[in-house]
């Protein structure tokens, strides 16, 4: 009987641990600020071309605003989302950790951090990768896919 209870407890605990407390982790935050995207060479010398970063940032902001889940994203106030009293800000930090180079199956790897601005505490972090397949275009498409994947991560964490 005790063993069954232990197994049941484990089963209940495991999904939470695997998800990294993600679902609902951003509930209560009414504004999102995007910190500067970090793009330094990794140990293998891989780095996304710096010229792609402003475009990636723009795509990411666009994707985050399109979620309509925050009253404010950077300096954009979303009238579709009602303001809930005092503003609570979550900061999104993206660190590019790998880039395959321009090729047919381009890929970009990143580590995403969500930080409570008021306390400075990390709410959660998660690796987000964008890997293109045969039928998809190029490195520039990989950054678009990465922006979409990060926005989806934020959406799934509300």
């Amino acid at each position: 009987m005790r063993a069954q209870i232990a197994i049941l407890a484990l089963l209940l605990l495991i999904p939470g641990a695997v998800a990294g407390d993600r679902p609902g982790a951003l509930r209560g935050f009414s504004a999102l600020e995007l910190l500067e995207i970090e793009n330094t060479r990794n140990e293998q010398g891989q780095k996304l071309p710096d010229e792609l970063i402003p475009d990636l940032r723009q795509q990411l902001l666009h994707g985050l605003v399109a979620l309509h889940t925050f009253h404010r994203v950077e300096d954009h106030v979303d009238d579709a989302v009602p303001s809930a009293g005092a503003e609570r800000v979550v900061q999104l930090k993206v660190k590019i950790t790998g880039y395959s180079g321009a090729q047919n199956q381009a890929g970009v790897k990143s580590e995403v951090f969500l930080i409570d601005k008021a306390s400075g505490q990390e709410v959660f972090r998660s690796p987000v990768n964008a890997q293109l397949r045969y039928d998809q275009g190029a490195a520039t498409s990989a950054t678009r896919k990465l922006a979409r994947s990060i926005a989806n991560l934020v959406r799934d964490s509300r």
Binding site: G45, L52, G101, A102, Q103, G137
Partner: protein, 172 residues
Amino acid sequence: MKGRAILLIPILVVLSATLCADQKPKLAFHNFTALEVENFDIPKYETKDPMPESWLPLIREDVVQRAIELHLFSRVADFKDPGVPAPASERVLVLRGKVTEFTHGSQAARVIVGFGAGKGKIVVLCEFVDKATGEVIWQRQADGRVIGVGQSTEGAVKGLSKEIAKHIRDNW
């Protein structure tokens, strides 16, 4: 008749040796400790199709990445290779290039027709320059192509950077 043919052989040997000597850089690349890669030039209206300017950083970064993977230079762009000992003084080789040929091709043709139809191609005339003196050490053409089914033209960048890296290794 046989004697003439015998005479021709050494002439041909000397000629080919001269041509090969021309293809070698004025200074072997191992004399340099760092490599810097500049964005290539795209002369307007000189190529069959206009190459998107947004590809230039992709090409530059791909070449840098391939050069890093060679582990020959102690520094490539802003990456200091921990596997290569740092020199007492740095001598920099600069890679410049000019896109001389660009064909965007057609992915649809590559998929539907195949057999090389709709192929994409980038050809670059590369210049390796001694940064200190400004002297062109070596000039060589390199190209990248996309022929296969379901491949984007941007994939040609990979072939191009691989060929440039091969030239660097061969002239080390």
